[in-house]
């Protein structure tokens, strides 16, 4: 079995090199460095996948560590980046995702031994579906968030007739960023819905009721409604450009708030981190 520390260090080295190379390639307009950044990111993803398959997640007897959860989120973000890259032939979101994943891996390092105690009944395959669907949805949403932010910046400058700094010379066209946003939102919302439904279905046997007014549940439903509005308008009302980009940024920030603030500060039965 690969030690969690070793695999984390390996991912940190690969993602660190990928981030440096990718960002240097973007700022210095060097195609070779950008390609190297993509290769290293894909290598980091492949390494992490192999490590997961080898059973790194079984390192703690009580289940996954907090560090493993953070790394799993990074893994899903990279997966989202790779899917988008292959789908639209545009590596920029993947190159922006690699520094974020590097940070996630760095943050996970002190928590590799911190167990996240779960209620006994939660540790089953349905839980894997709940977590897997939500993490893959948020991973895609992270890519949508980067594409959305980039769109808002670039579109603002084009619309406002402001000069484009040299750094942004090799950035994707705004139509392409909108396509990335459309693809990620349309793929992420059904996954998010699956995560929510699986959560509701299993809440009753585990917590005694499908809905108990828990802050995490309320927050998740609020996000789902906003996300659903975005999904509906994208699909039915042909929302394109600035509006869906702004909504995507909002949905991602709410997800971040839900994970960082609600899970750790508020009184919720999702506060597994505090144990």
């Amino acid at each position: 079995m690969v030690s969690p520390e070793f695999s984390t260090m390996l991912s940190l080295i690969l993602l660190g090199a990928a981030s440096l190379s990718g960002l240097a390639g973007i700022t210095g307009h060097r195609i070779f460095l950008r390609r190297l950044g993509i290769c290293l990111t894909v290598l980091a993803f492949a390494t992490q996948t192999l490590v997961l398959l080898l059973g790194f997640h079984k390192a703690l007897p009580d289940g996954l560590s907090l560090g493993a959860y953070i790394q799993m989120f990074a893994w899903f973000t990279l997966l989202g980046g790779i899917v988008v890259w292959r789908k639209v032939q545009q590596p920029a979101p993947l190159l922006f995702a690699s520094p974020l994943c590097f940070m996630l891996f760095a943050v996970s390092l002190p928590y590799l031994g911190t167990a996240v105690p779960l209620p006994g009944m939660v540790q089953n395959s349905f839980y894997a579906l709940h977590i897997g669907a939500l993490f893959s949805s948020i991973g895609l949403l992270t890519i949508a968030f980067f594409a959305g932010l980039l769109f808002l910046f670039l579109e603002g400058r084009i619309k406002g007739k402001q000069p484009m700094p040299d750094f942004w010379r090799d950035m994707p066209a705004i139509s392409l960023l909108d396509k990335i946003n459309a693809f990620t939102v349309l793929a992420a919302f059904p996954l998010y819905t699956l995560g929510i439904i699986s959560g509701i279905a299993w809440a009753k046997p585990i917590f005694g009721a499908s809905s108990s007014g828990d802050p995490k549940e309320v927050m998740s439903i609020v996000i789902w409604l906003i996300f659903g509005t975005l999904f509906h308008n994208r699909l039915i009302k042909n929302w394109k450009g600035r509006k869906p980009a702004q909504w995507t940024v909002l949905v991602f920030l709410l997800c971040l708030f839900s994970i960082i603030v609600v899970n750790t500060i508020m009184n919720t039965h999702h506060a597994f981190i505090r144990g």
Binding site: K161, P163, G241, R242
Partner: protein, 423 residues
């Protein structure tokens, strides 16, 4: 005597177009009438003659400048004194710096324009075909191509458009990216609008539609752009199917208004539209720009973009000059190795000869004809000579890379190894 490089030339900086025309050498670059023959002090030569500059580059020993000027004057059937007031002369590393700067388009009338590199490549091909380039100019020209590439890649000196029509195309690329699936509608006809349409066509646009009040003129333009003419009166019907609209009519009132575009956007499912209004007075209501997914640039906006791009290129030129200076220093190191090259060759040859002689002597003493023994002795003697030569070679090359006085180093090595009297 040392090998030297010399560049004599005139350009838009020093001479008006009439003078440049008078002394141009473009027609004289064929092998039979090569303006700068490799005789006298000239060992290698190259002629660059474009509409903005005439430059003669030579490598050789002795007074290259006067010889070059006389060759130039003779070809143009004039006197050297007629040319002299307009020319600049660069020698040695200054000539290297100049050719690097010219290739990188830092000396061009439009900073960063790409044509000059192609023109230098053509000039080099002609010189090579005439057999007038050698070790120095081959290296210098190849290096200038790589310096130009480095400057273009590492700086933004050539990155932003400096013409209105091209600025419009660059903006379209920022909005749409790959242009292959997009359509353009050209409304009216004007020089700049046609130029923009031509640039869009070159960047791979799917189709160009032309709407002109005079339908016959519209058809003529459509043929020119391999597009399709549409009736001007039905303009509104074609708007939903096009992505880029270039207007350049003489209409006193706007022909496209924001309220019309709102309906068009609905029909085209909010897909983005880019309006380029080159007409004065403007053809498109400025409020169009306030609509989501619609981008409008008029002639003043495009002019502003061009001015900013020119300013950016000027700023970037400072960085480009740093790259040129760095490459000139590297080239100087290589140039200096040319002075030590004969000594290095002699040193190595002497070592190899001594090794061969000693192997023969040893075999003769042993009275052995064994080929395997001969091979082993040759390998050993060769290795010994190479090891002994390593330190003096490094000593000689150190002077080249650090641009020190090579003369003293060469002289020391020649005396230590007795290269001048050993036969």
């Amino acid at each position: 005597m040392k090998n030297d490089i010399c560049l004599v030339g005139l350009s838009h900086h020093t001479a008006g177009v009439d003078v440049r025309e008078r002394f141009a050498l473009a027609d004289h670059c064929d092998a039979g009438r090569w303006a700068l023959p490799c005789d006298g002090p000239i060992q290698e030569s190259l002629i660059l003659s474009t509409c903005n500059r005439v430059e003669l580059l030579a490598a050789g020993k002795g007074d290259l400048t006067e010889h070059m000027l006389h060759c130039w004057a003779r070809t143009r059937e004039t006197k050297a004194s007629d040319i002299r007031p307009y020319v600049y002369i660069h020698k040695s590393l200054e000539a290297v710096r100049h050719i690097f700067s010219v290739a990188s388009s830092l000396d061009s009338m439009v900073l960063g324009e790409p044509q000059i590199l192609g023109q230098i490549k053509t000039a080099y091909r002609k010189a090579a075909a005439c057999g007038t380039t050698g070790v120095i100019l081959n290296r210098l020209l190849h290096k200038s191509f790589s310096v130009a590439k480095r400057v273009r890649t590492e700086t933004a000196v050539a990155s932003n458009a400096v013409s209105i029509s091209y600025a419009a195309v660059e903006l379209a690329k920022r909005i749409f990216g790959d242009m292959r699936s997009y359509k353009v509608l050209l409304v009216g006809a004007g020089e700049m609008a046609e130029l923009a349409a031509m640039h869009l066509l070159q960047s791979g646009i799917d189709e160009i539609l032309v709407a002109n009040r005079t339908h016959a003129r519209g058809e003529e333009l459509a043929r020119q752009f391999r597009g399709r003419a549409v009736p001007f009166e039905q303009l509104a019907d074609f708007l939903p199917s096009v992505d880029i609209i270039i207007t350049s009519t003489g209409s006193p009132d706007p022909i496209i208004r924001a309220k019309d575009i709102k309906t068009v956007l609905k029909t085209r499912k909010n897909n983005p539209m880019f309006f380029i209004d080159i007409a004065v007075p403007r053809d498109i209501d400025p409020d169009v720009n306030s609509l989501d997914n619609v981008y409008l640039y008029d002639i003043d906006d495009l002019k502003e973009v061009v001015e900013e791009n020119i300013a950016t290129r000027r700023d970037e030129a400072a960085r480009a000059h740093e790259i040129v200076n760095e490459e000139v220093r590297a080239f100087a190191g290589w140039l200096a190795t040319l002075d030590v090259q004969p000594t290095l060759v002699e040193l190595v040859h002497r070592g190899e000869r001594l090794a061969r002689e000693e192997v023969d002597k040893t075999l003769k003493r042993l009275g052995s004809g064994d080929e395997r023994l001969r091979e082993a002795l040759e390998v050993m003697a060769g290795a010994l000579v190479r090891k002994l030569h390593h330190a003096p070679i490094v000593f000689l090359k150190h002077g080249c890379t650090h641009q020190e006085n090579n003369g003293a180093r060469v002289s020391a090595i020649r005396r230590i190894f007795n290269l001048d009297s050993d036969t």
